[in-house]
Structure formats: C-alpha cells, structure tokens
C-alpha cells in the first residue's frame, strides 16, 4: 500500500516533469500581439469549432484569419506569429515538420518559399487553379508556388519594386519633382550615381542618396542572369560583383548614410529625424521599396516619434534604375494536415478570393470591422489600404480608387497603384531558388566588412564561401 503510494507520487512527479518539459515548445511560439487574443478566445470556442493552425512571420495574415472566421463561424483559426529577423521562423518551422505540432497552413516568404515548394511537405493545390484563373493571378506568383508542374502555394501579394524619393529634395537639387523627369535622370546606373554625386555636392554632405547601400541590393540581385544555384553548383553572377563595387563607391564617397536596413537610422531617414553622431541633421533622398514598402514601411514611419517631423505628402515614386521585385508572402497547406480541405479553403480565401482581396487592399479591414468579429483583436491589427494584390481582376477593379486616396496624398497625388499595375506583369521569378535566403544572408557580413575596409575583396569571397560550406554541405563551391 505504502509502496504503491510512493510509486504514484513518483509517477506524478515524473509526469509533471514531462509536462513541464513539453509546454514551452507549444506555448512559447505565439507572438505578444497575437497571444492574448487567442488565449482568451480559445476556451469559449474550443468545444465545437474546428481548429485551423496558421503560422506566419508577421501579424498581417491574422487580419485575414479574423475575416475568415466571419464567413466560417464553425472554424477557429489559431494564429501563431514567429519573427524571422535572424531566421527564427524558418528554424521553428523545420523543427515541427512531421511532428504533431505541424500547423495546417504556413506562410512562406519569397526568400525561402522555393525551398518548401521544392520539398514534399506541401499539399498539391491543383483544386485552386481554376479560382486563380478566375482571379487572373499574376503568372509569376503561380510560377513561384509551382514545382515540376505541381502548384503548392499561392500569394495574396504581387511585389514589384520601386524607388520612393523626396519631392522637396528633388526640387532643391534637381530643379524638378516631376516623377517622369526624375525617372529619366535615374533610368540607368550611371545616372543614379551621378544624382548621388550631385546631391552630395549641393547639400555639402548633409543629404544622402540612400540610407543604406543594402537598399539597392535587391534590384541588383533581381537583374542577375543566373540564379545562385545551377545544377547544384554556386553561381556568382557579374551583377553581384557590380553591386559590391557600387556599394563600395557609395560608402567611400559618402553617398549613403551607413544605416542598416530595418534599424533605427534607416527608419529615421524616412521622417527627417536622422541625426549623425555629432548631432548634425541629415536627410535621405530616396528609398528602394516594393509595393508593400509604401503602406507597411514608408507611410507608418513618415512621422517622427516626437511628432516634430512629418514627410507625408513629400514623396514621389518612380521605377528606378533597375526593375526588381522584393518579398511577398505565399501560403501553403501542409500535406499531412488533418484539415486539408479547410486549409485549402483558407488559402483560397486569403489569396484568390476577389472580395477578400478587395477588402484587403482598400482598407475595409479596419479595427472596428475586425472587432465586430473578434472583440479581442489587437489595436494594430487593422489593414491599411494600399497593399498590391496578386489578382489582376482585383487590381483593375480598384486601381482608380487610389487616385484620391490617403496613399496618393502621401505621394502628392501620384497613384502608385497604377504604376505597380504596369510593372507587375513583367516581373519574373526565374531567378528564385530555395537557397536564396541563406546564401544572401551569409553575404551581408562579408560585404559590411569589405565596405568598412576591414577585409579585401578576396577575403570577402572566401569568408562567404566558407560560411556557405557550413550551411550547404552538398553545394559545389569553386
């Protein structure tokens, strides 16, 4: 009797240890913004609703998840956000594949979507192709999600790139703020560099052409002749070297503010609050950003934190020296998902549904709209108007509505949506491979070291290739 009591106690202790060991893995994931809402909502909804697990690396798809719940009240979408700053999302995702914690729907960023499309985990979404045809989804969006004729992922965005510039600075240094004339000046790289030199000379070094030379990395990489990996071997296209040379030129001549993308100095340049270490105010002439850069990055950061600076209405947009595309979020369903049909329906709704995409792009999903569906919605969950969607039907339908919108006011009357609609059909995805993300990440540090003058060009390549060998044991590197 006594012995069995001990056994029970020790079993309980073991069980509690096991549970304690298990819980963090499943609950640590949700991000701060999404977690409270889901946690409080789950108990009320758990009894009958089907649970659909959606993983992403930003909170934007959660907006669609809430809208999805409105038309599918029998479904509870459990949304998990894991950031991908240093690749945390990708790692977490790889670690759960094939386990019981695998989500039903996963978001895949342009940099690593190919890796998953080329692997065997995603379900065939052939059922959704007719819907894609009806929505006239841009061909490159489907191409990216397709491997060997099997389509496994769709995107709600198309993401051609552009250059956003400051009109007041353009007038000051070039005598005009007209987008057509600015585009004519920067239509090729020589013109772009010439502009940088003019700005530096006329401003006495107080205005930089760009905040970071990393800004024009994407345009250069998008204009390579060959992808990073061909037949299992690493290919370094001449455009990569040209990018590094021009980045070095910008650094040595002081054409760039030496900020790092996505860090304080880079954002500060957007609202004129950039101050160098000595306390001198600095300005940035232009930013290379794609479709989503306007509503998600530039517009939200155009006011400084103290309210002293506001650059709204002082921006113009042009194609820039090199056409490119940057980013985009694809959605795929895990093949082993127990709710595969529902997962497909979610992807159809999020990426191909005309009504949803219209709502998404035109700012219908306000906080009030979302709160009516889910009272626990986070205050910043609303989707502002202006994201460029993947459906040509929707784009053509709504493009005129941006003529007099908040976003066109931000651009002093210019309809950026119309410009993107022209650029989107010519985007191609032939260069994308599954290894792009890791290959390009590994290049950042050697480039920084080279720009700082710490290492030579030869060291740059050897450090980078060593790093690649670590991550790609099977890649042939010459």
């Amino acid at each position: 009797m006594r012995k069995s009591l001990f056994s029970i106690v020790s079993l309980l202790i073991i069980a509690s240890m096991l549970l304690a060991g298990c819980t963090p893995a499943t609950t640590a994931a949700p991000a701060a913004t999404a977690a409270p809402a889901e946690a409080t909502q789950a108990p009320a909804a758990s009894t009958e609703k089907t649970i659909l697990n959606v993983w992403s690396f930003t909170n934007e798809i959660n907006t669609m998840a809430i809208a999805f719940e409105a038309i599918h009240p029998e479904v509870d979408v459990v949304y998990t956000m894991i950031p991908m700053t240093n690749g945390e999302y990708q790692t977490k995702l790889k670690a759960v594949i094939g386990t019981a914690d695998t989500p039903d729907v996963i978001a895949l960023e342009a940099a690593f979507v190919k890796e998953y499309v080329e692997a065997d985990f995603l379900a065939d979404l052939a059922d959704l192709l007719p819907a894609a045809q009806a929505a006239q989804t841009y061909q490159f969006v489907i191409d990216v999600g397709t491997d060997n004729g099997v389509t496994k992922a769709f995107a709600y965005q198309a993401t051609p790139g552009a250059v956003f510039y400051r009109r007041s600075l353009a007038t000051e240094y070039f005598g005009t703020d007209d987008p057509a004339e600015i585009q004519a000046m920067m239509s090729d790289l020589d013109g772009f560099i010439e502009m940088a030199a003019t700005i530096k000379e006329k401003s006495g070094g107080d205005t930089y052409m760009v905040a970071s030379s990393g800004d024009f990395q994407n345009p250069f990489f998008a204009n390579r002749a060959q992808p990073w990996v061909v037949d299992g071997a690493l290919v370094v296209d001449p455009m990569v070297e040209e990018y590094i040379n021009i980045a070095k030129l910008f650094r040595d001549n002081g054409y760039e503010a030496q900020a790092q993308q996505w860090q304080e100095g880079w954002f500060a340049g957007m609202n004129d609050s950039l101050v160098d270490a000595d306390g001198n105010a600095k300005q940035v002439f232009c930013y290379f950003l794609p479709t989503w850069g306007l509503p998600y990055v530039l517009a939200p950061n155009s006011k400084s934190a103290d309210g002293a600076h506001d650059t709204g209405g002082d921006w113009g947009v042009v194609t820039g020296p090199l056409p490119y595309q940057w980013g985009g979020t694809w959605l795929g369903a895990m093949a082993e998902s127990p709710n595969l049909e529902l997962a497909k329906e979610f992807i159809r709704f999020a990426t191909l549904d005309e009504q949803n995409l219209t709502n998404w792009a035109t700012g219908v999903y306000t906080n009030a709209y979302l709160a009516a569906i889910d009272p626990n919605v986070a205050p910043d969950q609303a989707q502002a108007a202006g994201d460029f969607v993947s459906s040509k039907v929707v784009v053509n339908k709504i493009v005129a509505s941006f003529d007099n919108s908040e976003l066109s006011a931000f651009l002093a009357g210019q309809n950026s949506y119309a410009g993107f609609a022209e650029a989107a059909p010519s985007v191609n995805a032939k260069l994308m491979t599954g290894s792009d993300d890791a290959i390009q990440r590994a290049l950042n540090d050697p480039i920084n070291q080279y720009l700082n003058g710490e290492i030579s060009m030869d060291d740059l390549w050897s450090i980078w290739k060593d790093a690649l060998r670590t991550e790609f044991p099977d890649l042939v590197i010459k």
């Binding site: 240093n86 790092q260 304080e264 101050v275 270490a277 590994a442 710490e454």
Partner: protein, 300 residues
C-alpha cells in the same frame, strides 16, 4: 529485519527514480541519439538519413570554420573566466574577511548577482542598441571628441569580442562570487585564528588555508564554467547577425552547430557531428581539470 532493510532500499530507489528517469529521457537519450545522428546525412527537410560513416567529421576539418569556432570559444571563455574568477575571489575574500568586517555584504552580493537574472536576449539587445552606428555610444564618443566620426562598433572584431567577453563576465562573476563565498565561509574560523596567533599575513592565510580548502569548490567552478563556456551561445548569437559576424570572430561551437541545424535544409546530421566533437572536447578537458586539481593527499 530483512524486510525493513529491503523496504529502505526500495524507498531510496523510488526517491531517485524521477531523476533517473528524467535523466534517461532528457539526458542520456539525446546524447545517444546525437551520436547516432552524427554518422548520418539526415536533414530536417528530408526527414530521412543514410549512414555516411565519418563524412560529417571529415567535413568539419575540411575547412577552417570548425577550428575557428573552437578557437573563438576558448578565447571568449578564457578571457572572461580569468577576470571572473579573479574578481570573484577578491570580492569574496573582502566579503568574508574577519578583519575588514564590511557592512552591507548581502546588498553588494545581491547587486553583483543581479545581471545574472536578466535575460541574455534583453542584455544582447541592450548592447546591440548601445553600440549601433546611430546609437548612444557613438553619439557620446563623437560629441566628446573621443572619436572623429561614428564607427560601426559591432562590425569590428576586437569590439565584438570584447563585448561578448564583458557581458559574459558581467553576467556571471556575481554567481561565482556567491559560490566562492559559500566555500570560504565553510572554512573553520579557528584555522584563521590559529594562523593569526602564529603571526601569519593575510596573503599567507589565503595561500596556505583558503586556497587548499577551497579546492573542491574551485574544481566545481572550473568544470561548470568550462561546460557553460564551451556551450556559449545566446549572447554572441544575438549580439550580431546570428552567424558569428564580424568575420566569424564570435562564431562559437554552438552557433556553428545551430547554423548547420538551421541551414536551408536543416542538416541535423552535420550539426550533431559538431555537438559530438564539442562533447568530447569538453569531457576531456573537464576530466583533465579534475585530474590536475584532485586531492593529491588521498593518493598517498
């Protein structure tokens, strides 16, 4: 009589059962599994692997990356451990010194221990912001003419390494101080009193009484710090880009292992090989420390 003896033994086993079972599941199994994985080419994206003999290991030595990581790890550990044990020794001597009779020892001890309670992620983020190009350190140094212009501190090898070493030292010297103090206060006071009567100096008392009697504690500190140091990960990972930049100068063993694990396909076989090598290296060094600091009197 026999029965009660048996019962006693059984109770003992029951009491240690939770640990033993926990150890088997969370301690031994992962080690054995890692060892097995290290001989395969398993990736997370394929979920299947074939035996590839010692290929993972030969690859580790095919280029300099692994040896760089090992070198970095030792460098970062030794340079933070020497000041750590030195300062901790000094502080704990002062705190326990019967002659000094310092006031507020508990308060000081708590203050020195506080950094250890911070999350490494928060500490790394703090130093990342402080030393960024547009950060406060640059502003202060340029405005006080200590630097002609702002510097990319975190892209400079000596700065990045010094920061990792400083943070590791700053977070851990309080912990070492507490353990050393515990060791010192457990040394019988009458030994010191006898030494004082015999006219010993503070230095003599330290080298003849404190150090020899602290040996078991020192072995413990050496070994735990070595094990922790060889697994150094969070601070160097979070301080820069998570790949040991600048120029792999703060790439530690565990960051290398993680990089292989988190690589595009998730090469867990290759990552396990790094883990096995680190395990072997740490075990050998820990045993060497225990051998050299063993109680030599017992051997006679």
């Amino acid at each position: 009589m026999n029965l009660t003896a048996l019962k006693k033994i059984n109770h003992g086993y029951l009491f240690i059962a939770p640990f033993v079972i926990g150890f088997l599941i969370f301690g031994l199994y992962p080690v054995v599994n890692t060892l097995a994985l290290s001989f395969t080419d398993m990736t997370l994206m394929t979920r299947e692997g074939n035996w590839n003999d010692f290929q993972n290991f030969t690859r580790l030595f095919a280029d300099d990356v692994f040896m760089t990581a090992v070198g970095n790890t030792w460098l970062l550990w030794i340079l933070n451990f020497i000041p750590q044990i030195g300062i901790a020794m000094l502080l704990s001597m002062w705190f326990t010194n019967a002659r000094l009779r310092l006031k507020g020892v508990g308060l000081w001890r708590a203050m020195f221990f506080l950094p250890n309670l911070l999350m490494p992620a928060a500490v790394a983020a703090l130093f990342f912001s402080l030393f960024s190009y547009y950060g406060p350190v640059n502003q202060v140094m340029v405005r006080f003419d200590l630097l002609p212009e702002a510097v990319h501190f975190l892209q400079k090898i000596p700065v990045a390494r010094a920061l990792v070493i400083f943070i590791q030292w700053w977070m851990w010297f309080g912990q070492t101080t507490i353990i050393l103090m515990a060791g010192m206060t457990s040394i019988p006071v009458h030994l010191y009193e006898a030494a004082m009567v015999d006219g010993a100096t503070s230095m003599q008392m330290f080298t003849r009484i404190t150090l020899p009697l602290l040996k078991p504690i020192l072995v413990y500190i050496f070994v735990t710090s070595l094990v922790g140091g060889m697994q150094m990960f969070d601070i160097p990972y979070l301080l820069t880009d998570g790949r040991g930049s600048p120029s792999q100068s703060i790439l530690t063993n565990t960051i290398l292992m993680y990089t292989k694990f988190a690589s595009s396909k998730g090469h867990i076989g290759a990552a396990s090989a790094v883990g096995v090598m680190v395990f072997l290296m740490t075990s050998v060094c820990a045993m060497a420390i225990m051998y050299f600091l063993r109680d030599k009197d017992k051997d006679k």
